[in-house]
Symmetry: C2
Subunit: 202 residues, 2 copies
């Protein structure tokens, strides 16, 4: 009898909420926010569409959960990039910026949901996983640069400006606002990141 090993509350799904977020994330990454549907996510999870409303208030709440997953992954990528970059604050900041752009170019659809009308921004990433938020990492990296004397001025203002530049080049590239070859795009990324670091200079 399998009923013996069955854990309580695991009749249809051990964790439908988690299953829905996982399948929704996959659907968004492959088909984009517009191609994504609540019904398709329910279908992929093997449940009736109405079952989704037991765990999310509506379609946009499910997309917000997908966005939160994205911010956790982005923060992870930034931490990994900084770890590989070494100890020099400017190097660590550059690695953080490159991880940000790389995430956007690797996973444009996910990135779009994170900054679309759904996800409530990068501070959201702190919830759930308990890790640092993407924005917190940026502020910390700039704070380290200030301490090391390779940056001047208030950290918050510098953070907004640096973030705007890095976010801007990311969105321009993934939205195809400008037609570029891969090598041209790399040069543009280099130029933006170099310009940001020079702009922060003490």
């Amino acid at each position: 009898m399998t009923s013996v090993t069955r854990t309580a509350g695991a009749y249809h799904h051990r964790d439908l909420r988690r299953a829905l977020v996982d399948t929704a994330t996959d659907l968004v990454r492959t088909h984009g926010p517009d191609g994504f549907s609540l019904r398709a996510a329910a279908r992929a999870a093997g449940v009736d569409p109405a079952a989704v409303y037991r765990h999310f208030t509506d379609r946009s709440a499910l997309l917000a959960a997908v966005a939160a997953v994205g911010f956790e992954r982005l923060a992870d990528d930034m931490v990994a990039g900084m770890a590989a970059a070494g100890d020099a604050p400017a190097d660590r900041f550059e690695a953080l910026g490159r991880a940000y752009v790389a995430f956007a170019l690797t996973d444009p659809q996910h990135f779009r949901v994170m900054f679309g009308p759904y996800g409530s921004g990068p501070s959201r990433g702190a919830d759930g996983a308990g890790g640092p938020s993407a924005y917190g990492l940026l502020v910390d990296a700039l704070g380290d640069m200030g301490t090391a004397g390779v940056m001047s001025g208030p950290v918050e203002a510098a953070a907004m400006t640096a973030w705007a530049a890095i976010h801007g080049i990311s969105t321009l590239l993934i939205d195809g606002a400008v037609t570029m070859t891969d090598t041209e795009a790399d040069a543009a990324i280099d130029h933006v990141i170099g310009s940001v670091i020079r702009g922060l200079g003490a």
Copy 2:
């Protein structure tokens, strides 16, 4: 008899294509790209949904036309801002940047369509009205700065970097990625534009 004054081919609409673009633009500006529907645009224009396909291949083609209207308006705003700013190249560039951010904050839904998966970018603005494109204006303004000796380096690279910063702060502000008061937002815009101009400095 009214039939005497009727012009040829004006039975149902003098220009259904234009009427559809106008109503679609209004719908996008009030309800956003997601709230917009081809059927609602047809309803507002007083025609059957199927009639839209006589003028546009599909829903996204209609949205692309809305985006093109947006790029024409953006270029107009930039020209007006520069005209009011005077003759100094750096002042004119600053006015251009401020017009860009102001457009995004005033008409966020339209701005979103322009840079979403639909509109094919700002170079599109050159078509139709015959006016200059938003990107062309940016490149020209930077070229003038180079001629005046207040900017160094290649224009194309500088244009991408400046555009990224200005576009970035625009999208971060309208997507609510960071929560700010109006005065904080103004300060952030000032900081970004100042940083861009300083970064261009010869």
